[in-house]
C-alpha cells in the first residue's frame, strides 16, 4: 500500500468518525434532554461521542496534512491548492478546529457550537466528495453559513417539539 492510499483511507476513516460521532451526539442529546436533565449514564454516552469526534478531527487533520505534502511533492499547483472547493473545505476544517477550541474554553454556547460543528462535518464531507463543484469560494462559504444556521434552527425545532411532547 502506498502512502497516498494509506492517507486517503485514514482521511475517510476520520471523516466517518467525525460525521458519525457528531450525528449520534445530536441524536442522543435530543433524546436525553427531553426530560430536561442529563443523568450520569447519558452524560457518559455523550462524552464517548465527543471523544469519537475528537479522534476523527485528529485523524483528518494529520492525514489531510500528509495528503497536502504528497500533493506538494507531485507539484499539483494552483489548480488543486487554490481551487475554490478545496479552499472552502480547508476553511470549514479550520472552523471545526476553532469551534472545538471555543467549546473547550466554554467561550461559545454549547448548542450553537455543536450545531456548527455538525454542519461543518457534513460540509467538509460533501466538499471532499463533490469534485465537480464549480462555484466560487465565497458562494460555497455562503451556502455553508446558511447550512450551519439551518442546522442550528432545525435541531432547536426538533428539541422543542420532543420536549413539548413529553410535557403534554
Amino acid at each position: 500500500m502506498d502512502w497516498y492510499t494509506f492517507l486517503r483511507i485514514s482521511h475517510i476513516l476520520g471523516t466517518v468518525l467525525g460525521v458519525g460521532g457528531s450525528t449520534f451526539a445530536e441524536i442522543f442529546y435530543t433524546k436525553y434532554q427531553k426530560d430536561k436533565k442529563i443523568d450520569p449514564f447519558e452524560h457518559d454516552v455523550l462524552k464517548v461521542c465527543i471523544s469519537v469526534i475528537r479522534i476523527g478531527l485528529v485523524i483528518i487533520t494529520f492525514s489531510g496534512l500528509g495528503i497536502l505534502v504528497l500533493w506538494r511533492l507531485k507539484m499539483l499547483g494552483p489548480d488543486v491548492f487554490y481551487s475554490p472547493r478545496f479552499l472552502a473545505k480547508i476553511s470549514v476544517v479550520f472552523v471545526l478546529l476553532f469551534i472545538a477550541l471555543l467549546t473547550n474554553f466554554r467561550l461559545i454556547n454549547l448548542k450553537l457550537g455543536s450545531a456548527i460543528s455538525t454542519a461543518s462535518w457534513y460540509a467538509a464531507m460533501i466538499l471532499g466528495i463533490w469534485r465537480g463543484l464549480n462555484l466560487s469560494y465565497f458562494l460555497i462559504m455562503l451556502f455553508y453559513v446558511v447550512f450551519s444556521a439551518l442546522t442550528y434552527f432545525f435541531l432547536e425545532y426538533i428539541r422543542n417539539r420532543t420536549t413539548k411532547k413529553v410535557n403534554e
Binding site: L65, R72, G77, P78, L101
Partner: protein, 152 residues
C-alpha cells in the same frame, strides 16, 4: 527533488505542525482552573524542540533548493506575489518562533508558583502563548499557499 530534500521539506512541515500542536496543548492546559505544571513544562519544551528542528530542516531546504529551483517557478507564474509577499514574510516571521517559545518555556519552568497563584500573570502568559500559536498558524497557512504556487 532528491530524497534528502524531500526529507528536509517533510520534516520542516511535520515539526512545524508539531510545534503548533504542542503550543495549542499548552494553551488548553494553562486555561484550566488548576493548570498542571508538568504538562505545561513538557508541552512548551516539546514546542521549543519542534520549532528549532523545523527551523534547521526548513533552512537546509530553503538555502539549498528553494532559492535556486522553487523561487524562479513561483516568480514566473501568475502568483508571483506568493513569493514576494508570503514567502518573504514567512521566512522572517518564522525566526521569531524558536526564541519566543524558549522564552515561554523559561517563564513556565521558572514561574510555576506565579502561574498557579497570580491570575494576571496567567492571563499575560495565555495571551503571549496565543500570539505565538497565531504566528505559527500564519506561517503554516503561508506555507500552504507557497506549496500551492509550485507547478510543473
Amino acid at each position: 527533488m532528491s530524497d534528502t530534500l524531500i526529507f528536509y521539506l517533510v520534516l520542516h512541515i511535520i515539526l512545524g505542525s508539531a510545534g503548533i500542536i504542542f503550543l495549542t496543548a499548552y494553551l488548553l492546559s494553562l486555561s484550566k482552573k488548576e493548570p498542571d505544571s508538568k504538562s505545561l513544562k513538557s508541552s512548551s519544551f516539546l514546542a521549543v524542540l519542534s520549532f528549532i528542528g523545523s527551523w534547521i530542516f526548513g533552512g537546509l531546504y530553503y538555502t539549498s533548493y528553494y532559492g535556486k529551483v522553487v523561487k524562479p517557478i513561483i516568480l514566473k507564474g501568475q502568483y508571483s506575489w506568493v513569493h514576494t509577499i508570503l514567502m518573504e514574510t514567512k521566512e522572517h516571521l518564522f525566526l521569531f518562533l524558536p526564541f519566543l517559545t524558549i522564552a515561554l518555556f523559561v517563564i513556565t519552568a521558572l514561574g510555576k508558583k506565579g502561574l498557579e497563584k497570580n491570575e494576571n500573570l496567567k492571563k499575560s502568559v495565555l495571551r503571549f502563548a496565543f500570539i505565538i500559536v497565531g504566528l505559527g498558524i500564519t506561517a503554516a497557512l503561508a506555507g500552504y499557499m507557497i506549496s500551492g504556487a509550485v507547478t510543473k
